[in-house]
């Protein structure tokens, strides 16, 4: 007779990665290692996984967890890695919470993972140099045909646009006296490109394509990408049925009412009006062109 056991780790929060279809001979890389469960899940299903960790504190915590889980097929790399070490190496790139990571970098005015995020001094204002050229790093590391997995919180798009715009405005103001307004056109174009990439779905797709990705699939995620309960592919909306996820609530009538309201609002927005652009989170998967 089977008896329930509790000496196991439930990695259900990595359900988004279940859509990747990992190959057991593959090598994966996780930028940021934000979700430990995702890292462990990928390590279980791949030959090897590389984790690029932003801080020594996080490195220690992750190492401790990996020892507990008896995982050995991993390599943890300090964030100050040199990109040339990662060219055409990986079969999968995982970037969980990538807008959250980007926001942290902007706030601290530094670029840990993604080249030229901020402080780019280049005069060219093509997409990859507008401050969101992070996808280049990911693409470089992938083998042709390799897959990228990105997850992010929807509301952060506006937050990041604001932060990056402020940064651009500050940079522009500081250099205005020297350049006598010559860079104004470039400044406006930068802001426009940022808005396009961060606010419109098409813009983000263009950005991915311009960085060498194809077969781009976008998914609406509920209630959030760190612990998804429902994921809907946007290209199959006609065949998918949205049913409100059960919002967790603590004891108490107010919490119960709030969960009920969320369910009803969800039904209205997604079932009736199909406004999936307002989904709480998104996952994007794409393949590096062969």
């Amino acid at each position: 007779m089977l008896v329930p056991q509790h000496n196991y780790t439930n990695l259900s929060s990595a359900a988004g990665l279940g859509m990747i279809g990992f190959n057991e001979d593959a090598i994966a890389v996780d930028y940021g290692c934000v979700c430990f469960d995702s890292f462990i899940y990928a390590s279980r299903l791949c030959k090897k996984i590389v984790g690029i960790v932003p801080s020594s504190e996080k490195l220690k915590t992750l190492q401790k967890r990996l020892v507990e889980e008896d995982i050995k097929n991993y390599e943890l790399v300090n964030a100050n890695y040199k990109e040339r070490h990662f060219e055409d190496v990986f079969d999968y790139v995982i970037i969980n919470c990538f807008l959250e990571q980007l926001l942290t970098e902007i706030k601290h005015n530094k670029s840990i993972y993604f080249n030229s995020i901020i402080g780019a001094k280049k005069k060219d204002n093509s997409l990859e140099k507008t401050g969101i050229g992070f996808l280049q790093s990911a693409c470089k590391g992938l083998r042709p045909g390799g897959k990228i997995y990105l997850s992010y919180a929807n509301m952060l798009r506006i937050n990041i646009l604001f932060q990056l715009s402020m940064h651009k405005i500050m940079s522009f103001s500081l250099s205005y006296n020297l350049r006598k307004g010559l860079g104004f056109a470039s400044f406006v174009k930068n802001i426009y490109l940022l808005s396009s990439c961060l606010l419109s779905q098409k813009g983000l797709e263009t950005l991915l394509k311009s960085n060498g990705f194809v077969d781009i699939e976008k998914y609406a995620v509920f209630p959030d990408h760190k612990c998804p309960l429902k994921i809907i592919p946007l290209s199959k909306l006609d065949e998918c049925s949205y049913e409100p996820v059960q919002h967790l609530y603590r004891e108490g009538s107010l919490s119960r009412i709030s969960a009920g309201v969320k369910r009803r609002v969800g039904r209205l927005i997604f079932m009736k009006f199909k406004l999936f652009d307002l989904s709480p989170s998104f996952i994007i998967t794409a393949r590096k062109a062969s």
Binding site: P4, S12, A15, G18, Y41, L45, I231, S235, K236
Partner: protein
């Protein structure tokens, strides 16, 4: 291939259910996210194999034993039912299901329990009845014939009465009819049908380990007070 995540970790089962779109083919995939999930998926595969072993229609489920197991299940065509289904309006399919249960379960060499028989786990068309979600499948003794149907009726009553367990006369008459229909297929030593709702609760609690889940959290029947079960028993047996 495109995926839709339908459910994830329901009742802490450590399993995600995906709908997979592969070119023109659509199928479902259950994927484990722990060793416990592996056990549950392996158990579900046993259930499908038991149920569809001598089936006229070929049902091919595929179990992939990677580090975390995956079970691919074909998409069945037919009418599906909501998880909040009630008795009213569903009398005809409920009657068909009871006949189907009597026929299918009696014909098997080894008796088994589905464990979560609910209207929403049936897919019905004019000719066929398909049954999914075998996570709680387990072998049992034939004297527990009827447990699954009583469990299904209990869920329907709960939804119909909006959890008050007060029913109108039409519903009560229908339940009695269901009971008479079911009892025709039971043997003399049946341990469920004398007091169907009370005995079903006893079975659930006595053999809770066989269900591979926390029965108190998943099944309302497990926590139902005796007075409610006595009331329901009196409706069908009197």
């Amino acid at each position: 291939m495109l995926y839709e995540l339908i459910t994830n970790n329901t009742h802490n089962n450590n399993i995600a259910l995906y709908k997979c779109y592969n070119a023109n083919k659509v199928f479902y995939r259950k994927a484990a996210f722990s060793h416990w999930g592996n056990k549950v998926i392996e158990n579900e595969k046993k259930g499908y194999d038991w149920f569809y072993k001598d089936s006229e229609t070929l049902i091919e489920t595929r179990l992939k034993k990677k580090y975390f197991y995956e079970l691919d299940i074909p998409q069945f065509k037919g009418k599906k039912f909501s998880s909040e289904s009630v008795i009213s309006g569903n009398e005809e399919p409920i009657g068909r299901i009871i006949d189907f249960y009597k026929g299918q379960w009696s014909a098997k060499d080894v008796f088994a329990i589905h464990g979560d028989l609910a209207l929403c786990n049936f897919i019905i068309d004019k000719k066929n009845i398909k049954l999914v979600d075998w996570e709680h499948f387990h072998y049992s003794d034939k004297e527990f014939f009827g447990y699954d149907i009583i469990n299904m009726l209990f869920i329907l009553i709960e939804h119909e009465s909006k959890r008050t367990f007060r029913l109108n006369k039409r519903n009560m008459d229908f339940l009695k009819k269901c009971y008479i229909q079911l009892i025709e297929g039971a043997g003399n030593n049946n341990k469920i049908l004398e007091k169907p709702f009370q005995n079903s609760k006893d079975y659930l609690l006595r053999f809770k380990d066989r269900f591979l889940t926390n029965v108190s959290k998943k099944f309302v029947l497990a926590g139902s007070p005796l007075s409610v079960l006595e009331h329901l028993d009196s409706i069908v047996t009197d």
